[in-house]
């Protein structure tokens, strides 16, 4: 489903560019959830931005394919229409655009790009209400401008709300656990688990093992200096927790 081969990318102006991804290879088959763990500066967030097409990152080598599509050749909105979703580490505030208006515009734009019919207003409202309830988001919150005045935890729940509404083929969750208390973490994890299915893949980026108690991954990749240095099962996360990144990096070197 998602296949990354020797991905190399840098950030910054030419001359001062720093290589952040350094020959990263990774494959997530449909139906699996993989975790990416790594110390600060390993390239975790850069990977999420390179895959979704944020400006400012120069890909100098390698490839990234999703369902047989060359992601790197597409605009961000085209990648989204293929079903690629990023839950942002720091969701942006969008003043003046209510959550419902925004999500409906996004959903219909994706449908249009795929040649599908728009969702009807009653269907949309019902879906939003049901999913909002599961995530403990009130109808009132969904009418407010996107993320404006929302707490850190509310913003993360709103990211998961958008993910549930948009039903992506492949979701990247970038440090979705940061800033969450234990109750919010459980709600977010349940939202993510509800989307697990044989057709869908996910990449869960996290610094700590804690989230993986709730979202149990099929595989764990350890990222260091822009490449995967170790891949294992869920037990690898526990080992990381015990030995620290230094210990693992030392062992893998």
């Amino acid at each position: 489903m998602l296949k990354l081969t020797d991905l190399t990318a840098s950030v910054g102006e030419a001359g001062e560019a720093r290589t952040i991804l350094n020959g990263l290879s990774l494959e997530v088959p449909a139906g699996e959830v993989h975790a990416i763990m790594g110390p600060n500066g390993a390239g975790k967030s850069t990977l999420s931005y390179v895959l979704t097409g944020k400006a400012g990152y120069e890909v100098s080598g390698g490839s990234a394919w999703l369902d047989g599509h060359d992601l790197l050749a597409l605009d961000p909105e085209e990648r989204a229409a293929l079903g690629l979703f990023l839950s942002f580490q720091y969701p942006l505030e969008v003043p003046g655009v209510p959550v419902m208006t925004f999500v409906r515009a996004a959903m219909n734009a994706q449908r249009k790009a795929r040649g599908e019919a728009e969702i009807s207003a009653p269907d949309f409202i019902k879906m939003a209400r049901d999913i909002g309830k599961e995530l403990n988001l009130s109808a009132d919150m969904l009418k407010r401008p996107l993320n404006v005045g929302f707490s850190g935890g509310e913003k993360k729940r709103l990211e998961i709300f958008q993910m549930r509404m948009l039903e992506p083929r492949f979701a990247i969750l970038d440090e979705t656990d940061s800033g969450l208390d234990i109750d919010a973490l459980r709600i977010v994890a349940e939202g993510v688990n509800a989307l697990r299915s044989p057709e869908r893949g996910m990449l869960v980026i996290t610094h700590y093992q804690r989230l993986l108690d709730y979202i149990v991954p099929d595989k764990v990749h350890v990222l260091s200096h822009g490449r995967v240095i170790l891949t294992g099962g869920p037990e690898l996360a526990l080992r990381l927790e015990k030995e620290g990144y230094d210990g693992i990096e030392g062992a893998a070197a």
Partner: protein, 416 residues
């Protein structure tokens, strides 16, 4: 007493062809003393130009080499106004007035021009006072608001392709009266200048909502001179798309204790279009409030100008509460915005604030929308629409939706 032609010439030493044509128009009609004084006030500066204080970025003289008819009779439709609205139409030398009026509204017409106080400070208003109604219509149309008028009054200015279109309208709101005034300034003349004089008496209310359109062959000036008495309320919302030069000027005086003014505006400038929002607010009475929000979005080759001034004199200006905000989006490289916010405060117990920003759309915000699948053009339109919305929120006369839709059409037509 008519000033002799020679008396004008010293103040018009190097008149441009357009200015000479304006002087000829003035001399061709009946000339009374008040018109003469208004024209002299105009002739002191001529068509305002960049070397004049307050006109540095909006040069009517350079924009109008000659007075010439234009091919466009007008631009777009007049605003759709709530049912029962009364329409007054000003088109070149023709003025169309309504046959019947709603309760509480009286319409007067005057065949001579009333004196224009402060004409020297507003040359384009002085020009309108000197030249309005020289054809078959009245020189001045006066709307007297004696009660709470339920139906809006709609003023439509559309030149029909003429060289010039001048209009002078006075709105007098009697104590406790209330009116929704809507204006559609549709251009369609080489030079348009409209003067609106507004007096709101104690506890009166006037809500003024206007829309302006024009093209690169037209120069437009819309000047409002507003006086507010004790406890009066004035709410202004303007949406402007510009012309070769378009100036929307509001000179407002708080004259009675506790009067309140809202002065909001939005400018949306495509390439070659110029909008100037200029305002001067004098807090000439205690405990008055002014709230001003001006938002702009400009494309390559477009030009937005904001000049705002709050003047708060010592003693009489105490307990003034005033806030001025101007925020502009430069949507493309090559867009221009010039801003001059000014607070001149001599009273010591006041709350006055201002803010002024201009920049591009936040690229991170754009990326966030695009990551959700919203195409770039739509994402830009959505963010820009949200950005300007606040400044249109107080629009009256049932026009809010139409103004938002007009802005939206402009923004979604923008393919960057």
């Amino acid at each position: 007493m008519a000033p002799a032609r020679g008396a004008l010439s010293p103040t018009f030493p190097d008149a441009s062809p357009a200015e000479r044509a304006l002087a000829d128009r003035f001399m061709a009609g009946t000339v009374d003393g008040r018109r003469g004084r208004a024209f002299e006030a105009f002739a002191r500066t001529g068509l305002p130009h960049r070397r004049l204080e307050g006109w540095r970025w909006t040069d009517f003289r350079a924009a109008l080499a000659t007075l010439a008819p234009v091919t466009a009779t007008g631009h777009g439709q007049a605003l759709p106004v709530a049912d029962g609205a009364v329409t007054l139409r000003f088109s070149g030398e023709e003025i169309f007035l309504p046959d019947s009026l709603p309760d509480g509204l009286i319409l007067h017409t005057k065949a001579d021009a009333p004196a224009l106080a402060g004409a020297e400070e507003a040359p384009m208003a002085a020009l309108a006072a000197a030249l309005a109604g020289r054809g078959t219509g009245p020189d001045t149309v006066i709307l007297e608001v004696c009660g709470r008028v339920a139906e809006p009054v709609h003023i439509v200015c559309e030149g029909g392709g003429a060289e010039v279109n001048f209009a002078r309208i006075a709105v007098i709101v009697r104590p406790g009266g209330a009116l929704d005034l809507v204006e559609s300034h549709l251009g369609g003349a080489g030079l348009s200048s409209v003067l609106i004089e507004i007096d709101v008496a104690a506890s009166g209310q006037l809500r003024r909502t206007l829309s302006q359109r024009g093209d690169a062959h037209e120069a437009q000036a819309i000047t409002a001179l507003v006086h507010l008495d004790e406890g009066a309320s004035y709410i202004q919302t303007a949406l402007a798309f510009g012309a070769r030069v378009a100036r929307i000027e509001t000179r407002l005086v708080h004259r009675g204790t506790g009067s309140a003014a809202v002065l909001n505006g939005v400018y949306l400038c495509a390439g070659g279009q110029h909008v100037d929002f200029t305002s001067h607010v004098r807090h000439g009475a205690p405990a008055c409030t002014t709230r001003q929000v001006t938002k702009g979005a400009v494309l390559k080759g477009g030009r937005g100008v904001f000049q705002g001034k709050f003047l708060v004199p010592r003693d009489i200006g105490q307990h003034t509460d005033a806030d001025m905000q101007h925020q502009a989006l430069l949507l493309e490289q090559g867009a221009e915005v010039f801003a001059k916010p000014e607070l001149e405060i001599y009273a010591d117990d006041v709350e006055c604030a201002h803010g002024n920003t201009s920049g591009a759309l936040d690229p991170d915000m754009l990326f966030y929308l695009r990551q959700r699948g919203i195409p770039l053009t739509e994402a830009r339109a959505m963010l820009t629409q949200a950005f300007i919305a606040e400044a249109l929120a107080a629009a009256g006369g049932g026009t809010h939706e139409a103004l938002s839709a007009a802005a939206s059409r402009f923004l979604s037509g923008v393919s960057l």
